[in-house]
Symmetry: C2
Subunit: 411 residues, 2 copies
């Protein structure tokens, strides 16, 4: 008997009507003989409501109590969905994270799952029940409620699928799969039948917010087949696969990710001596600011320019820190730019194909788009460009790599 | 160091502002060196909101899931109150019922507390923390969430006070104590300094909804001193005492309770034979209808009249059941009256004083108020009268027993 873990997000369970619609879908699945473990998020809007209440109590709400508060959101949904299922004659039983015994570390508001006890759930499944589990939450060793951070319900679903050795983990979202790029930017963006975990990881970390990144890591670690589906229309969605097939069979590029969340900072006229990069970045990281891309150009003389990007929210603060540093280190000057965008091509196929970068740069150049920074990994090439060219760049690359065509298996 | 369990109801924590006001009070108490365990209810309105959601899922929501749902109400409040306390520099820590290990039976939506584990709370108190516990909820032997029914937060507070051997259990309400009767009906109703548990039990069961009746039983069983106080103005409130003092010291009557929740049903012309009462009441109790007062008049011939009261919500159904029975048992006729009220005088002092009933009946008769039914216990006399005389009867009795005067110790 096939066992599936199905995760429905906040929008899918956002109203009483939507919960009934999800229940209808689950009844049909159960009628096909599927064993079902359902993971749900808080009803959309609920988490924001609770956060607003917390901030009325304490500008920086205490993390342990924040978790006690936020975890009620999913607890409401599990109860309501069970009622909707029972109203349809299905046996159903709800579990909070603590009741399952989803054990996490004690890093409140961003805890990591350490262990899942599958006993109670198995007993219910064997008794013919649908099991409904609150996503996003667990319990630490002391019995305190923890949460996994925003989007953590995906992680709960994948982790449960791993613990239960489910046939597949189905993530229901408001899109019907993973696309070659954002369909709002490129009309002929295409749904991918499959995508590898590595590609998905890059897409997720680059801002294609279909799945929470930690859940993808989890799925990769435990070999859980994950399928992304629409909760509103039927369809096969996109299956996330393990990259155990021959890369030669893969298209060079699977998708184009982008974001405009970053800002760029440049320190001009740095003396090209060992240890200078760490001296520049030390005050930034000490302030808890995360750095994304880093580029250092070798200068003509013994001076060089040092450029890096941070989240746009951290831009002002970073600039201030660099200006203090500039005085201390006798740097020439500090420059910054908020009007940038990052565009990336992602594909496990590019490992085995030379010339991918060249094709990318040529295509952008042909449109007169200047590349400000470049960063590469084995399966990704990212460039920073002027923000105003973002849509043009994405469309250009989408057609340059023929992503609008049916799966292009390179020869 | 004095240890108090303090319970704040839904109105007292109904808004962010009110929670801040409660936190201010607690800070002042902690500054006096008091050890504090705080029990809170759901914010007012929250339980109704959740019930409405549940009923959109299932007309008769499944009890286990209802408890999962409703228990989130208090869980929100404990987190918010802890934040408000921490914002004021107090160390605070929240506990759900399950986290304390308030173990109950499995009677969902009306569970009974079986055991409380005081270890975790004691550890926190010893560490100088304020402990905030979700009222109204517990966990059964299987780890399922249970609730104690409406008003169950009072029971949680009293049970915790018993388990922790607290000096006193303070119940904060929107009234500043227990009154000789409802001040909205009698202008010069007087706050009682003390009331015995037995009197409180009678007052609670008769509709003076200051405390949930089960919490009073609990307090009596475990000898927990309970004080009812206002959460809005300072004052000594009313201390609920054990009736271990000499009744002679007590006033004859401590208070007047009343309600108009009941309806009266009379079966006329019942043959006065053994077993007839149970035959009449069997279909009523089989339908889950609770009977309050029962009176059987001895008739002149071998026929008698049999009268009882039920909750007004059950009146129509009871009448139908009796009409079916009347045909089966060849009864003369069935009559009913919804326009009744029950008025009771309550006082442990009446045990040792003859003539209390006479004084009550005389006072009512002097005002032309006809008594339809009478029922007595050791410390209570209840009469059923026409609803329209309710206020007059309460005022008449209040002054007949001199309840408006300072504590009248009878000679």
């Amino acid at each position: 008997m096939a066992l599936y873990v199905k995760k429905f997000g906040g929008t899918s369970v956002g109203t009483a009507e939507r919960i009934h619609a999800v229940a209808d879908q689950l009844v049909a699945m159960a009628a096909r003989g599927e064993q079902l473990v359902v993971v749900v998020s808080a009803m959309s809007g609920e988490t924001n409501r609770l956060v607003a209440l917390a901030e009325q109590m304490m500008p920086q709400p205490a993390p342990r109590e924040m978790d006690v508060l936020l975890s009620t959101g999913e607890q409401v949904t599990i109860a309501l969905l069970c009622m909707a299922l029972m109203q349809r004659g299905l046996e159903a039983r709800s579990y909070t994270g603590a009741q399952v015994r989803i054990t996490t570390d004690s890093a409140h508001t961003k805890a990591r799952i350490q262990h899942i006890d599958d006993q109670a759930i198995r007993r219910d499944l064997n008794a013919g029940r649908v099991v409904v589990v609150a996503g996003f939450q667990g319990m630490d060793g002391e019995g305190s409620i923890t949460t996994l951070g925003r989007g953590g319900s995906d992680t709960t679903a994948v982790a449960l699928a791993a613990a239960l050795k489910a046939d597949e983990c189905h993530i229901y979202t408001d899109v019907d799969g993973v696309y070659t790029t954002d369909p709002r930017v490129v009309d002929n963006a295409r749904r991918l039948e499959t995508i590898t975990f590595e590609e998905m990881l890059e897409m997720a970390s680059l801002g294609s917010k279909v799945l929470q990144i930690r859940s993808v890591e989890f799925a990769g670690k435990y070999n859980v087949p994950v399928r992304v589906l629409s909760s509103f229309k039927e369809g096969p969605g996109t299956l996330i696969t393990f990259d155990d097939e021959d890369d030669m069979e893969k298209p060079m590029v699977s998708g184009i990710a982008f974001n405009r969340d970053e800002a760029k900072l440049t320190v001009i006229g740095v003396s090209d001596t060992p240890g200078i990069a760490s001296r520049i970045l030390k005050p930034i990281s000490a302030a808890g600011i995360e750095v994304d891309m880093i580029v250092q150009n070798v200068g003509a003389d013994d001076r060089t320019d040092f450029t890096f990007t941070v989240h746009r929210n951290d831009y002002r603060r970073s600039l201030e820190l660099l200006q203090i540093l500039a005085t201390e280190l006798d740097l020439k000057s500090v420059a910054g730019d908020e009007k940038i965008a990052k565009v990336s091509i992602v594909g496990v196929g590019m490992r085995s194909h030379a010339g991918v970068a060249t094709r990318m740069f040529d295509a952008l150049s042909a449109e007169g788009i200047n590349i400000q920074m470049i960063s590469t990994s084995e399966i990704k090439i990212s460039v920073v460009i002027n923000e105003k060219y973002l849509e043009l760049a994405v469309r250009t690359l989408h057609s340059a790599f023929e992503l609008d065509k049916a799966p292009t298996v390179t020869q």
